[in-house]
């Protein structure tokens, strides 16, 4: 089974779960006065779940044959591309999300930019480090001072 039909299967599952929630679990604790109105919080989701199940089934059962066209990236041979780099960068993004608060904006951002270009194969430290530091500093200044959104600049233990 091709990837698009596997995805259709997953989407069908989502629509079924959503439909179950809309049809069977939402109306139970509805306030009595709302029961008399023609529209309930579950009305629109009920319609959507039915439509979603129909559309997902259409893709899953292959009612509509797509003309196979040359994809930009062939997912069947994903390991032939720079998959490792992509996964490491995604990991780095998760690490950034987790470190942003405890380590502060400046440290996390500079580290993110340096490690990001390191993962991509850059080794010119004398360019990477200054570029990252200047970028982190100027973005912080812009966000904090110009846009007025507070971001903790330094790690918590320094008192930033």
């Amino acid at each position: 089974m091709a990837l698009d039909r596997w995805i259709a299967l997953v989407l069908l599952g989502i629509c079924l779960a959503y439909g179950y929630a809309a049809w069977f679990t939402m109306d139970g604790n509805l306030a009595p006065f709302m029961r008399r109105t023609p529209i309930w919080p579950s009305t629109f989701p009920k319609v959507l779940s039915v439509l979603g199940i129909v559309a997902a089934s259409c893709v899953l059962l292959g009612f509509e044959k797509a003309t196979p066209k040359e994809a930009d990236i062939d997912y069947r041979r994903l390991w032939e591309y720079h998959l490792g780099q992509a996964l490491l960068l995604l990991g780095l993004m998760v690490a950034y999300a987790l470190c942003l608060r405890p380590l502060g904006f400046l440290v996390s951002t500079a580290a993110f930019l340096i490690l990001g270009s390191f993962i991509l194969g850059e080794r010119k430290w004398h360019i990477m480090i200054p570029v990252s530091l200047i970028a982190a500093g100027s973005v912080w200044y812009l966000v904090q001072e110009v846009l007025g959104i507070y971001m903790r600049p330094l790690p918590g233990f320094v008192g930033g």
Binding site: Y18, I39, I73, A97, F112, L120, V143
Partner: protein
Amino acid sequence: MLEGLLIGLTTALSIQNLLMVVAGCLIGTFIGMLPGLGPMSIIAIMIPVAISMGDPSAALILLAGVYYGAIFGGSTSSILLNAPGVAGTVASSFDGYPMARQGKAGKALTIAAIASFAGGTIGALLLIVFAPALSSVALLFHSAEYFALMVVGLSAIAAFAGTGQVAKAMIMTILGLIMATVGEGALFNLPRFTMGIMDLQSGFGFITLAMAMFALPEALFLVLKPKNLQGGDDEIKDLRITGPEAKAIAPVIGRQSLQGFFIGVLPGAGATIASFLGYAVERNIAPKEEQQEFGKGSIKGLAAPETANNAACTGSFVPLLTLGIPGSGTTAILLGALIALNVTPGPRLMIDDPQIFWAVIMSMFIGNLVLLILNLPLIPYIAKILAVPRNYLIPFILFFTLMGAYIGQNNATELLLLVAFGICATALKFADYPLAPLLIGFILGGMMEDNFARSMQLYDGVAFIWERPMTLALLVIAAILVVLPSYRARRKKAREAGVAEGD
């Protein structure tokens, strides 16, 4: 209308807004040039900046400038590198790249700039004529018609997705609508589908979703398969075009401005279809000897898609500004930004906030002028950005997507959601699912349910569908739009297989 134009002109000509136009055009050109980054990603990245400015006119002017700049920048990389940054400029590379190979890169860029300028300007003139007229019709619409109109818009987007894609586009649209129901809606004051997770109370963040759908997968694709950016070393010179050349492309520009604009107005069609169709039409109506030139460096073949895609970009503002219904991914993102700024586009926009409406239109003229006079002499230098090493570029793109999601919500959980959605979106992109319908569905979802609920309350049930003829007609159109492409595809397949057609 004259009064409106004057209001718009004074707003658009304020120092701040002029700066916004210039900045938007420049940023858009720079980023749009990078192959793989489309206008949707760029606008998504710019939205947090626009929203935090607080002034809706300035924000919309900035984002519209970015949009034009991105399309313009996309044509530059199409012509110089045969690597279109934007789908709407793919057709420009058919003749633009051969011209550059023949050493006429300067001329090609000039033609592209003039054609874009003309397409954008004529498009804006048509917008001035058609938008107020459509607005006054739209004022007669009730919630029921609005609901039906949104259904038509969403079906059209699915229907234009191409053969074999309609069901996929449909499921993506519905998924977007489903995601819009998560969280606490204004209508019922009840949390829905939050699964008890506090962070989902306010629903999914629109910027997070926009970043995850467009910027992140595009950046990941750049990592997975590095694009070859070599070949821009030649000196770009001789930017002038001759009199006969100008005479040859003038009628092309005239025709394609009109055609592109009206294609852009249709929901789901947009700049990509307009540029391909413009190219095909001009090739078919050209004299025999000129037809041979197409694909080998014809100036008409370059002028046609360049005019059409810019006119279509302008045209796509018509449904956004008059009905509040976006017809493309890009205008959907603009709509999201406007809603975040507490402006609801629609027929009332012209009456309630004339300065926003007219300032945007006037800034289209200014933006096109800025692109022409700023970019034409600067092109040789701007093209140097194509040499920025990807090792630096990609971490910055990823960082800006993270920042966008973070600034919008000030919440680190949002960043994890961004990465998770980004991975899902990349998988969907692998499997050839269109992503724009999801975002359009997500943005329209709330409004659609509101209008649906209002009509249900007014008519005490679904009676509004048959009691209002216009609603019924619109819904029938929507049904035809969805069923027709797959029906035609099946019939074609049956005919190819030699199966007799049943009547």
